[in-house]
Symmetry: C2
Subunit: 342 residues, 2 copies
């Protein structure tokens, strides 16, 4: 019985190929007006998410909805879930804990900022591969208004953001990860990243802060597995958006001699139409990659339009307090190899 | 090859018995004046933790120190660590990420509030047992002044707290968990808890909010393993302190017919002398159980004064925002079975 084999220094191969039995992606109004509208499970009419009395409660509702949809699409109920791994951007991860509290599932709280979808998928797939857990949920959420209020200013203030700033997506994504099932997208490898901090202090330029972490994890994964960019249909980053994407491509060429430009895409650039929508440098927030991976990507793995996707979620591990104290922004990137299975 | 066997609905037995190769516990001044002073690795002279310019930076320094001491006591270096699982109470877990950012270890961020030590030990031991990870670190921290400022009021305000309030310990704990090694304390089982919320809204009474979660996890563990309280030298809760401990004992008898009073102890009641020190209902904070387990408990497992300790860490998953919005306090408890090994 072979499982969770470490390859190289950082990568874990998952020979049992855990499958994604169900995935859920629900979004807010702006995301529902973007190019991926047809991919999502549900688009809320406005950012109150069905009339919730606060943005935080709206995010919790969004989170719960994604989890319930993923579980139900997997033909399971919360009672079938052995462990849910989840987190979000809000202080003390209340988007998650208040969202799932009635569901009575064993819960492992995570914090990876915007890398949470990749982090939770990586951990869930490792635990399923090793047999420690049978049915796992990986999930995350974010909300434009709850994030703005917490990290920048309340919307009512009408603050201006520079063009390098990203828009936190009002979105949630969830995946039910369980033992291999034929004809279902799988996770064949996972990698947990290291913190990278190159001294960026501009909280309106998270893409630049996160690009070095993405470069490090992608380079480690390719090195560990002895693969090249052309071995993937897509190397998909979490949400570097415009500024961060340019930097990532440059860093990988300059520092590692790796050119991923022909296979690279970024969830933050996919979820919105940057020409038509007023979203500055693109999307961000845990729910950005959470919803894109659990809709558009999953749909294309199912119909074999995509077969091998290296998904690397990126997170900026700052807080408003650390930035006010003059600190730079540490970042991290975690990854999973998603395949169309067999 | 047998590993990570699920017993009952919630419990994972770890037949390879991963060992705690090294543990670190460092604390602030008040904790160093308490009854466990002789147990800690290092006591800082004041809560600036060596003159740090902010309480948050002080907490990060404390966290790093515990991690470095644990790794060094395990005769390892950060380069030997495959994965560190860690978190804390601060917004976006900055105590952790800024503390360990230079150490270049793959990092899995966790959020379990004050249950983080039990949560990270549970996950680390499962990952080591299954062979997914060889050398893991589980760590956490908390700081009285950074927590007061964030959850209640800055110390400078001089606010009064009721007697039911607990004191957040200025403390950090870390454990290096790696494959079984003779003569070293082990982890033989792990359990991930479910969120329990019985509607408590008083943020100055976390013990009451957390007691139901502790009762649920202890009852699940005893039920899953077919064991009784007398099968343990100690059933140790994270930090329920005075109010929560009374409630836990009562809840377990009333709802489950289980009397743990003869073997129960609580880290929040151990770290301070409630008669002599002005700490209200006792200690709390991630670092409370983090430092007690990684000093006093580990020392007694080593000399076989204790042989079987069921450690259940409890966490209150609230944020200041959720409480201001009138929400109740969801809580969770995770557990590990610590043994003296062989």
């Amino acid at each position: 019985m072979i499982m969770a084999i470490r390859q190289g220094r950082y990568t874990l191969l998952l020979p049992t190929m855990p499958s994604i039995h169900g995935s859920g992606a629900v979004v807010g109004k702006t995301e529902g007006e973007g190019p991926l509208a047809a991919e999502f499970d549900y688009i809320y009419a406005d950012d109150t998410i069905g009339g919730c009395p606060s943005w935080e409660k709206a995010e919790s509702t969004l989170h719960r909805e994604a989890v319930i949809r993923a579980i139900s699409k997997a033909d399971m109920s919360p009672q079938d879930i052995d462990l849910i791994m989840a987190g979000d951007l809000l202080d003390q991860c209340i988007g998650t804990s208040f969202g799932i509290r009635e569901l009575e599932m064993p819960f492992l709280g995570m914090f990876g900022a915007c890398s949470t979808m990749a982090l939770s998928m990586a951990l869930a797939s490792v635990l399923v591969d090793t047999g420690a857990v049978c049915n796992a949920v990986a999930s995350t959420s974010s909300h434009f208004a709850s994030a703005e209020r917490q990290f920048r200013l309340p919307l009512e203030y009408g603050g201006q953001r520079p063009q390098s700033a990203q828009r936190t997506a009002t979105a949630a994504g969830a995946a039910v990860i369980a033992p291999h099932k034929q004809g279902t997208p799988c996770i064949e490898a996972a990698i947990f990243g290291k913190i990278k901090d190159l001294g960026i202090k501009d909280t309106n330029n998270m893409g630049a802060a996160m690009a070095p972490a993405a470069a490090s994890t992608i380079a480690d994964f390719l090195h560990d597995t002895g693969t090249k960019p052309e071995d993937y249909d897509l190397i998909l980053t979490g949400d570097l958006s415009k500024v961060g994407t340019d930097l990532l491509l440059e860093l990988l060429v300059k520092d590692e001699g790796i050119d991923i430009s022909s296979v690279h895409a970024d969830c933050g650039l996919m979820i919105y139409d940057l020409e038509q929508q007023d979203v500055h440098a693109g999307g961000s927030g845990c729910g950005c990659s959470g919803s894109v991976v659990n809709s558009y990507i999953m749909n294309r793995l199912k119909n074999h339009e995509l077969n091998r996707v290296l998904f690397v979620g990126t997170g900026a591990l700052l807080s408003p307090t650390s930035s006010l104290q003059g600190e730079s922004i540490p970042a991290i990137a975690h990854g999973v190899l998603l395949t169309s299975g067999n």
